[in-house]
């Protein structure tokens, strides 16, 4: 069953996702339009060049065309998504939310892809959340208890658009929540840093996990390596920049004192679909959203056949 999709937001993320959807072979997702608000935006110009409708009437356009749209990928901002989420649901349009609005259940593609396929609204957390939650989960499944986990995400200034910049608290809060709800940590913290270096740096993510007494360190390390492979299935440029290490403390974490911590140093190289490869933060988000969209389409097909 083909699902007709619109992408809302013609900035970096929306445009990158458009190119990914158009390049996907045999996809069940049919892209109807890239919808923006600025008729002169680069994203809309690209859409028209690629033969895709590129209206600039924003969320209203999507609602006006509800009969022709099954799914909207919202790549605007948390504020815009919060204001419109109920309207999409009322119009019968399934929403995949790429902002940190966090209205619907959170999905991290490598961890709980199949859990919320019937939800009217799915939240893709944040780019940093997509990159680091899998590793928190990887540590968690190798230990009896993960008292505290932390992530630090550094993205190049060039790849951080106005949405991220105006919503930085939403980014850290939503990411931190995902580390607990999906990653399985009892307590968590998320940090984001922008780096203006030229040439732009690749997206970097670091995950720290508090390891209680009696943890099988080898099990933690092999679980991390396994997760690297799982994420690489949809983000080929996702990799451990250095081997994961276990460092000796003690560390006085908010979840109590622990003797060791796991340190996972990640780099995400983008596929270069829209912005150059340094913008891995866009790729991991758009690749995950695409995977979720495909999973929903497959699920509906099964539902229709059953």
């Amino acid at each position: 069953m083909t699902m007709r999709c619109a992408i809302l937001g013609s900035g970096n993320i929306g445009t990158d996702l458009m190119i990914k959807l158009l390049n996907a072979e045999g996809s069940a997702l049919e892209l109807v339009a890239l919808v923006g608000i600025d008729p002169n935006s680069d994203g809309l110009a690209r859409a028209r060049k690629l033969g895709i409708d590129g209206p600039h009437e924003g969320p209203q356009w999507v609602l006006d065309h509800a009969d022709d749209i099954d799914m909207v990928f919202d790549a605007t901002s948390a504020y815009v998504h919060k204001a419109q989420a109920q309207n999409y649901e009322d119009a019968g349009i399934m929403a995949v939310d790429l902002t940190p609005a966090a209205i619907g259940p959170k999905v991290i593609a490598a961890v709980n892809l199949l859990e919320h396929l019937d939800a009217p609204n799915i939240n893709m957390v944040t780019c940093g959340g997509q990159a680091t939650t899998p590793m928190v989960y990887a540590i968690r499944r190798a230990v009896a208890d993960l008292p505290y986990a932390e992530m630090v995400s550094t993205v190049s200034s060039k790849s951080a658009g106005p949405g991220t910049r105006q919503n930085i608290d939403e980014f850290t809060k939503t990411t931190s929540t995902a580390l607990r709800e999906i990653g399985g940590a009892n307590l968590s913290k998320a940090i984001i840093i922008l780096n203006p270096a030229e040439p732009p740096i690749m997206m970097r993510n670091t995950v720290f996990g508090a390891l209680p007494e009696g943890t099988d360190h080898d099990a933690v390390l092999s679980s991390v390596y396994e997760m690297e492979k799982a994420v690489q299935q949809y983000v080929p440029g996702y990799r451990l920049k250095n081997p994961p290490v276990i460092e000796e403390g003690p560390f006085l974490t908010p979840g109590g004192e622990v003797p060791h911590r796991a340190v996972v140093l990640l780099e995400v190289e983008g596929a270069g679909d829209y912005l150059p490869p340094y913008a891995g933060n866009l790729d991991i988000m758009t690749a995950a959203a695409q995977r979720v969209g495909e999973a929903i389409a497959a699920h509906r097909t099964q539902g229709a056949q059953a």
């Binding site: 550094t154 200034s157 608290d169 780096n195 203006p196 250095n242 290490v245 140093l265």
Partner: protein, 343 residues
């Protein structure tokens, strides 16, 4: 009492926290706040060294939750205002709300010197709470005078009452400071401040130069306690200001007492410009990396100096402490490969 020619903001309990690996206790806070307050310091900043919410694996966990210490500072101060610092991306607007309730009336919103637009949310929240909002541009040696003006104007447009530039790497010469201060003072409607570090032994002279070019706020810490080779020592700044005939409103002798009798006994080591400290200034590396790099060097048996130089080459910015582990692991691997090649 005559009006001071510049306002002194003391950051012993915030930037100084780096030198103690964030191990401040309530009794330290009480003594330091009371001492500074008696000496006539107008603003006392307190938070984790990396600002509100900085307690973490990446920056080091606070021994005592910072909000307990902040509440204590608000309780014991008589005249001095209590300030906090927040880096968007690390701390939250909710943290500002919480400390404002305790009595913190000055919020410094700190950001790398090219990223002012991420401070809009937090400057506006601080203003909405009735706080004085100070926009704080870090690592100012990494941006041109024109670039800093552009960033400072953004912060001014969000409502910042004062703009600061911070020489977070202690990497600026006096000339570097003068051209930046001059450009900013001419472009801004709000007062300017300068936060200096002493990695090149320039902190006091650069602060005085900043004042002479029109800066109306200067930062320092007692005994220079702080990140890297330390901050501008307030007791020295006050003494030198007096020699210049600059009115500070603080008593240099009282500040010397605080430094000597309260702060020095707390210091795990004196603030000297050793090789690692000097490299920070020389290579333009964020001062708080110093002790983290020392620990990583020991852990992975590599050179602290090499770590700092590589961080400079990578143009890492404040907050990227995780890259210290990354660099240490890479150096260790390179050494291992070189040894194999030698066999």
């Amino acid at each position: 009492m005559t009006t001071p020619d510049y306002r002194l903001i003391d950051s012993t309990l915030r930037d100084g926290s780096h030198a103690l690996s964030h191990q401040y206790y309530a009794e330290d806070v009480i003594k330091i706040v009371q001492g500074l307050d008696r000496a006539g310091v107008q603003v006392i900043e307190i938070a984790h060294g990396d600002g509100l919410g900085g307690s973490s694996f990446n920056y080091g966990f606070s021994a005592v939750p910072e909000k307990e210490l902040i509440a204590k500072a608000c309780e014991v101060t008589e005249n001095a205002k209590i300030a906090c610092l927040l880096l968007p991306g690390i701390g939250l607007a909710d943290d500002l709300r919480e400390v404002n309730e305790m009595g913190v009336s000055v919020a410094r919103i700190a950001v790398h010197c090219t990223e002012a637009d991420i401070t809009e949310q937090h400057i506006k929240v601080a203003k909405g709470l009735g706080m004085e909002a100070i926009g704080f541009l870090m690592m100012a040696h990494m941006n041109s005078p024109e670039g800093l003006v552009e960033q400072a104007l953004l912060m001014q447009s969000y409502g910042a009452d004062t703009i600061y530039i911070a020489d977070s790497a202690g990497a600026m010469t006096t000339e570097d400071v003068k051209v930046r201060v001059n450009a900013l003072v001419n472009a801004l409607d709000v007062p300017l401040g300068v936060h200096a570090h002493n990695n090149l032994a320039m902190a006091v002279s650069n602060s005085i130069a900043a004042y002479q070019e029109g800066a109306k706020n200067l930062d320092g810490t007692s005994a220079g306690l702080g990140a890297g080779a330390g901050n501008c020592p307030t007791e020295i700044l006050a003494a030198v200001s007096a020699k210049y005939g600059i009115e500070t409103g603080v008593d240099p002798l009282a500040l010397m007492d605080v430094a000597e009798e309260i702060v020095r006994p707390l210091m795990p080591r004196q603030q000297v410009i050793d090789r690692a400290g000097l490299i920070l200034g020389y290579a333009g590396v964020y001062g708080s990396f110093l002790l983290h790099a020392e620990r990583a060097a020991k852990r992975y048996n590599v050179s602290q100096a090499e770590i700092l130089l590589e961080l400079g080459r990578r143009q890492v910015v404040g907050g990227q402490e995780d890259m210290i582990i990354d660099v240490a692991l890479e150096l260790a691997r390179k050494h291992a490969e070189a040894e194999l090649a030698d066999v």
